[in-house]
């Protein structure tokens, strides 16, 4: 299968999209899709010559073919057989890219949060959809975003109206069922959080099966004035999983946004987390943790774009790379000319436990304002042999000494996870993975 073939496969998909749109082309939602198709045709998949993809080669991903329309008659029994960990909250299920409201818990959301599919929104609340959908996304320059907009047929809007506090976390559970064939999932969701509203969101990605799974996911989050959003992205995907995910966030005055991206497993993962701080007195936090082993590849690209004065962004990413795993961290901080009195901090620390593991880090600060406080630091090192010997000399076996130190290293990020259930689940999984 050559690269041309997945392109061909996608072009055929697009043709279908276009004929489906026929007659509704004037709707803004469809306008955007048609434009995205053109954009993708122009861009094609990025190669490693592309600055943003220098260390992440998508060739293997594009050399495969995927079924983008696998059977969708998933039942509650199927879900049970996946043995997903229990979670308390408003749990919404997506299997192979398709939202399953019949399997989701929409009851507890009632009266607090509006959860609509895009199709529903086009009829019931087109204004909400058209005000926010696609606005925070750059389809002109990002091939995977263009592909996402072009192909995402349906997704959901989660709308938290102004002044509403949603106590229970809203959990978007994305399952790839690759038991029978290679599966492609295009997921697109939109989160709109009104003024002074408060919500906790989690996206969890899991693979179930041995075949390849390609996930192209894009989430847009609009955080209005004084709103507070906690966002978790948890990935426990297979070694045959290819995940290209983008989260685009727009923050307004006095809002608070917190993100924790934890990657436990995944063959090839690219996470883009883009924050636009479009207001004053904003607080933004980005935490990340990745623990690849084997041949896993995990790439995190983040952006904190300060456009107005007096805001704070703070970022801490940590990685433990084992075996022949590879990792990428690229953190951009932009401080625009108007964004005086910005405080922006970025820190990325990594431990490699083998000579064959590789971490590529690239902090990128671009500052046009003159009265700002910014700092960044990246380190990649090995475990401290002296510390291991110290622990051994007190009776702790070497493997256990290594494990204790790695756990302590990860703890800085794990301890930042505010939902106890998620924190404990992750702590347990990390313990397991570190052996």
């Amino acid at each position: 299968m050559s690269e041309k073939n997945i392109q061909t496969q996608l072009l055929a998909e697009f043709q279908e999209v276009e004929s489906g749109i026929n007659g509704h082309a004037a709707e803004p939602f469809n306008q955007r899709r048609l434009k995205a198709i053109e954009s993708f045709k122009k861009l094609g998949f990025p190669t490693t010559k592309h600055e943003e993809w220098k260390y992440s080669n998508v060739r293997k991903l594009t050399q495969k073919e995927y079924n983008f329309h696998p059977k969708s008659d998933i039942t509650a029994e199927d879900l049970n057989s996946f043995h997903l960990p229990e979670l308390n909250g408003i749990v919404l299920y997506f299997v192979n890219g398709i939202y399953h409201p019949e399997l989701s818990d929409l009851e507890s959301a009632k009266g607090k949060v509006e959860i609509l599919t895009f199709q529903e929104a086009q009829k019931q609340n087109p204004e909400l959809l058209n005000t926010h959908y696609g606005i925070y996304t750059d389809e002109e320059n990002e091939a995977f975003s263009a592909m996402n907009t072009a192909m995402a047929n349906d997704g959901i809007i989660v709308h938290v109206p102004a002044n509403v506090t949603v106590e229970q976390p809203i959990i978007l559970r994305m399952v790839s069922d690759t038991r029978e064939e290679n599966v492609g999932s295009v997921l697109r969701n939109l989160i709109v959080v009104g003024e002074n509203a408060e919500v906790k969101l989690a996206e969890s990605f899991r693979t179930y099966g041995e075949h390849s799974g390609f996930v192209n996911t894009l989430t847009e989050i609009s955080v209005a004035e004084s709103a507070r959003v906690d966002y978790y992205k948890v990935q426990d995907e297979s070694n045959e999983a290819y995940h290209i995910g983008t989260t685009n966030v727009l923050q307004k005055d006095k809002s608070y946004f917190y993100a924790a991206t934890v990657t436990l497993n995944g063959g090839f993962i690219r996470n883009n987390l883009n924050l636009k701080l479009d207001g004053e007195y904003i607080d933004s936090y980005m935490y990340g943790l990745y623990v690849p082993n084997g041949n896993q590849h995990i790439d995190n690209h983040t952006v904190a774009d300060h456009t107005k004065p007096n805001s704070v962004s703070n970022e801490l990413y940590k990685g433990i790379l084992m075996d022949e795993a590879t990792g990428v961290f690229n953190g951009k901080i932009f401080v625009r000319e108007d964004a005086q009195k910005t405080n922006a901090y970025q820190n990325c620390r990594n431990v490699v436990t083998s000579d064959k593991a590789v971490m590529n880090t690239k902090p990128q600060l671009e500052i046009w304002a003159d009265d700002v406080k910014c700092s960044h630091g990246t380190t990649t090192g090995k475990l401290n042999d002296e510390a291991i010997f110290y622990m051994q000399s007190r009776g702790i076996p070497k493997q256990e000494a290594i494990r204790l130190q790695l756990l302590a290293f990860a703890e800085d990020v794990v301890s930042q996870i505010k939902i106890e259930q998620i924190r404990e689940f992750l702590a347990e999984k990390i313990k397991e993975k570190l052996g």
């Binding site: 051994q392 009776g395 256990e400 130190q405």
Partner: protein, 255 residues
Amino acid sequence: MLTVSNLHARVEEKEILRGINLEIKPGEVHAIMGPNGSGKSTLASVLAGREDFEVTDGSVEFQGKDLLDLAPEERAAEGIFLAFQYPVEIPGVTTINFLKTALNQIRKYRGEESLDAAQFLKLMKEKSKLVKIDDQLLRRSLNEGFSGGEKKRNEIFQMAMLEPTLGILDETDSGLDIDALRIVADGVNQLKDQNRSFIVVTHYQRLLDYIVPDFVHVLYKGRIVKSGTKELALELEEKGYDWIKAEADAAESVA
């Protein structure tokens, strides 16, 4: 208890220990003295199992076992404790959790039951009094941001918790003021009994005012060139090491 015979060790190409012989019986305190670079700390490290050193010849028998055959953690479980000259800072691991893991690993090795939280805390309370170490310090990350004195006190506290049969103090006196030195020495003295032995590695005689040795050995160029009682330490304090160096160098050139 410990028999070191003709021990040779090197780091990379450099031979540092060149035939050490040493016999330690239960309850004895041996001081190892010597000028800088004589191999004192290397001897301590080799006994504890540090991997940086390669043993090229000789043997070490500890309570009937071939010590050199054991991993560092096995030596600890067999009853050897090395108090580090430079205790390591370990961020994110509290002294309490660290010691609980260590103690229970050692108990597991010996086929004993793990201590539960209550038993462990009781033991900790008892032992922390011994070296007058603050409980709050033990709740912090291991040695992180500790003063020099606090680190050394923490070493002795850990030794008290793990109750070794052979305690090796590697320049425990370095960087300590006289009060801290006294507290550390008091801790060691309280641990002394007829079955527990100590090797006290030190450059200065000062510590030996407080921890009185039964034997004093002078190490020079990787060999024990003189052995004696505590009076030898006093003589070294008074006259320095030059006369011993001269004696040893003369003997070597004759040989």
